[in-house]
Symmetry: D3
Subunit: 164 residues, 6 copies
């Protein structure tokens, strides 16, 4: 019997606008499970991002600097085609809440239709990160609140510069 190799690499896609402690908790978990984790920062986003692609990639790289089997890249176009180009057959996504679940379920279903060879796996963050979302973090930073409990220092500094 030939050995499945597919699980050794996963791609973890997102907007990461900016990367939070909830995201990095999931990256660390994936990095513990797999040989290679590709954090894939989407260039195309549904709404205008707060940070441009370069900044979002740079912040994610700083946050993941200590994880040797994690690489951060940006991508455009369809996620499933990016995954194929990267020779990765597993997409990893975080699930925090029921509303996440529904959207993710729909997305996973359509991705499976377009690329049956690519599987989507879901992971849950540690409980202390269940409440954190990039949009709430930005909202709090915009209103002058302290977000140092929710993001890494480099991200906090970038948020201060943007909204301070």
């Amino acid at each position: 019997m030939s050995e499945p190799q597919v699980m050794r690499s996963v791609v973890y896609p997102g907007t990461f606008d900016p990367i939070t402690n909830g995201h990095s908790d999931l990256v660390a978990r994936a990095a513990h499970l797999c040989d290679r984790v590709v954090v894939a920062v989407a260039r195309d986003t549904a709404k205008q991002p707060t940070f441009d692609t370069e900044q979002r990639v740079s912040l994610a790289r700083q946050v993941c600097a200590d994880m040797p089997n994690v690489e951060v890249v940006d991508f455009g176009g369809l996620l499933v085609e990016f995954a194929r180009r990267m020779e990765v057959h597993v997409i990893m996504r975080g699930l925090r809440a029921v509303s996440d679940f529904e959207y993710e379920f729909q997305l996973a279903g359509m991705n499976r239709r377009m690329a049956p060879d690519i599987e989507t796996l879901f992971l849950t963050p540690a409980e202390q990160y269940a409440y954190i979302s990039s949009s709430l973090v930005k909202e709090i930073a915009r209103l002058g609140g302290d977000v140092s409990a929710f993001v890494a220092p480099a991200v906090n500094a970038a948020l201060q510069e943007r909204f301070g």
Copy 2:
């Protein structure tokens, strides 16, 4: 850097009372992703199962007979301790619906508290299996309905014998 090995084996626990096409779809997906899939049939169940442990294991083995990297075993006691005894650090669970999600989320949270070294991953079944549950299948069989679209022939035969 040492290579993570943890993802190579996963345990897929459940009551499997009896195993349905939805379950076996998930087993096949996991078997495609990982080197080794342990289908773990729970001896201890919240309510009285329709089939005894021996039957549930036997039916699951027949259904998974063609998947060389899948083994079916029964277990008692805590799942996380069983996983450790099997030297598996990843639990795989299927997600079909919001109600699944909430229960699974709670379970994964408590398991993580008891065994932080063990991760729970979630997978979604193919869309045509999203509606299938063991309890609905048994209810239909009990009422004389045809469940051959939802379970393998061996399971169908066992249901006929039980309810026919």
Copy 3:
């Protein structure tokens, strides 16, 4: 073009243990929409009902006595086969809450698999009935509470006799 006739009759299945004002609101709505509404009282129930089939049918008949195009019958076996025997091709179900929705969705999916010619339609009760369930009504009656706002007088009397 031949005229579709299927919507003229609907079957509204349930345990009706006992029928509440929420149920009868839906029956009245269906009776306003269709030529014929069959209220189908399930003889086979997942758990031991509080009222036997005869009582459940009798209470439903009293509650629906003023609706000339409504008939109340009991049924055994599969709902979709009962519907076919009644020459009805539409099943009507009430939706009050998300948890209803998930179960109903699953049930409708399996019924569609077994009987593609039968469609399931969903209706929502009037807002003042959104909170009422047979099990909560029985729980309140059992504890000596007044349920006259939630059920018809005949049902209230039957609950008093049972729990009073």
Copy 4:
């Protein structure tokens, strides 16, 4: 007893930006149940549509061309008033997911308050269409993906022209 006629016609409202296979599955189901189905394309939409009203109506008409008892019209203003002008007393809506359900529930409640004579019925699409939404289809087309499995050829061509 006079015969209810109300169920013979239904209105199926939406933005249809553009019509997908999920929408047309529901139209076909409704057309099988009722004498007349009015697909009502909303001129007023919460956000800027991708296709203008004329295009959305034209695509829906092409998709429904083979269903003789289906008509496609655009409408402005309140849905319940449009339904009355069309002499239709039943609104039909599709339900795919919990998030749909909540919004639809709220909308149906407010419509019932404004027009107690008009009922909202819900239908579920075939399981293979449960994942399809117009916005995901457009997102995939925009990113250069193949959406021919999700929409009719005419709609695919229109998406190619728009995003190709």
Copy 5:
């Protein structure tokens, strides 16, 4: 033992764009429970409000004019810091639906992280207000519908003036 005083005052924050009968039902309930209710109208809103801060405050004041222990004020910046400035340690929020619940849960979790001394309590509106939301009310008014069942006369007049 010293007596807790914290529950005597609550802040009820929101956009109130405009205040509906659902909001005022909750204000009245809170005013019945507590010595002092601060209706806090957010100056900073995620999207462009239909009414400016002055109008939103003015309409809320008119609606709450008969409740002597209710005051209406606008606020900017972080809610938890506003609550502290007002010497209020309880935030009150309404819950109508599952989707509310998820967002509120996340918000309450982040607020608790930033201000552990401030508690969030949830209240449900009367059932007849469960369907009302400011955005649906504005949508109906914009389309020329009658919203007098959902808002107070002063709010209705303001909506007419805006959309009439």
Copy 6:
């Protein structure tokens, strides 16, 4: 204007079979907010409890021993009538998840119908307790797992004695 006194006392009802750290976190929060918290242990429970009423009350008393404004009592019959006998007009309930929410919403709606003078308020537990339920704790204890992270020492001892 007379001062509302109602919020000074709250009743926190439940089965408490047995009391967990999630429950006691909520009791402590309520005790911080209100002058008097009545932890009300239901004698009548939907299913056979693991611990009898006396034990459930005794364990709750031990857990709440350090909170001077908390009393633990058992009650039978309807909760709203018990609340009135205790001269308490506020019921407090914990919300952890969407499934909680739906059931609680329904219960609060029926209680409001039976006793419009009594209000139900909802509180969320600290994030580290979001996963804990009495039934999961008992399940783990029954299977020989360590539940000392989820319950107080006295409760842990009682669980050991029962399942050890």
